[in-house]
Amino acid sequence: MGTSELVLNAVFYVLAIAAVAGAVAVATSKNIVRSAFALLAVLFSAAALYAVMKADFIAAAQVLIYVGGILVLIIFAVMLTHRITDVKLSNDSTPGPAAFCACLCLLFSLVVVILFTAKWQRDPENVVVRSEGNEITLRQYQADGSTGLARGGIAVEDAVVLEVLVPRPATHLDLVKVRAWSTTKDKDGKENVKEVTGQAAYDQTGMRIRLENLPEGDWRWEVQQVTGGTSEASAKPIPTSSPSDKPDFSVSRGITEPVAKALAGDYLFAFEAVSVLLLAALVGAAFLARKEVRE
């Protein structure tokens, strides 16, 4: 385990402990002001956890809306509806054994489902290409190398693992070479082609190569067959059956751009509906909280 992994683990556990402690304090504290500030700890830890999960935009939205908006509203409500001096009465609760048992059972069943019954890791899709009697299977994984990356999926990290499986007995395949390329157009419409290749001798079953430091963009990759030694000239691409206009995977630093594309594309109607709903909620809240004029 490298240093960065150790740091990542430590950061996660610190944040997890802060979040759980805050949540328990919200549930059990006798003082409502203390509950409100424990909620602050939970919301901030959640924002940091989103950052750990590389969901940068969500982390920023969490801090802005939850911590800056909702929590301030809640603290306002606490201050407006209670005399802070009678702290003992402010956060009454009826802690019954029934509620506690129900929550414990819920937690237990959730833990059992999470740890033992469900299979969370996603297998990669297989793409089969044929070349001279060999059926070659292509797979792509996320940077961790164990979770599949769907065709056309988005890799948030700048590394992907590409796998080439070759069945036995393979003929005319001494060496396979993987070529991945990305075509981006700059402002003048000029095409920039970035190309990364990896090469490995296959060991009867296939090979896995890890491409690192990939620039952002849409990527496609193919397998090249190298016959008769390792010379560059003899590499020839194995034709794929998939259409060539769709990317095999995309690389994106952070999720802001893909989320923006989704919000402006697939979710445009939902986005507009939510904005109308927010307006309605604003008007409704102002209407409910207005001072009634008695005549």
Binding site: M1, L8, A27, S35, M53, T94, A99, I114, T147, P258
Partner: protein
Amino acid sequence: MIFSRHPLEHMLLLSAVIFCCGVYTILTRKNAVSILMGVELVLNAANINFVAFSQYTRIGGMHGNVFTIFVILLAAAEAAVALAIIIGIYQNFGKVDVDQADNMKE
């Protein structure tokens, strides 16, 4: 279990704990503001799940992240309306105990 080997399971366990704390808060509190805090805990647990599934499994691209944004927005709307109602209850009853606010009009 180490986080970097099983990140998804860790996030799911964490959100399960937060979710149960939220449910406990909703079940036991009498104060309407505290119940609202419990609802926020439950929503945050769901958000952590959405983002974890979206980031660590990539089932369906960015859908989980977009859902989280919608949940956060709806939570904001819900909090604004709920707090307006709570202040209305406080003006009518002088307290915000949900056990005693049981009639629509005094």
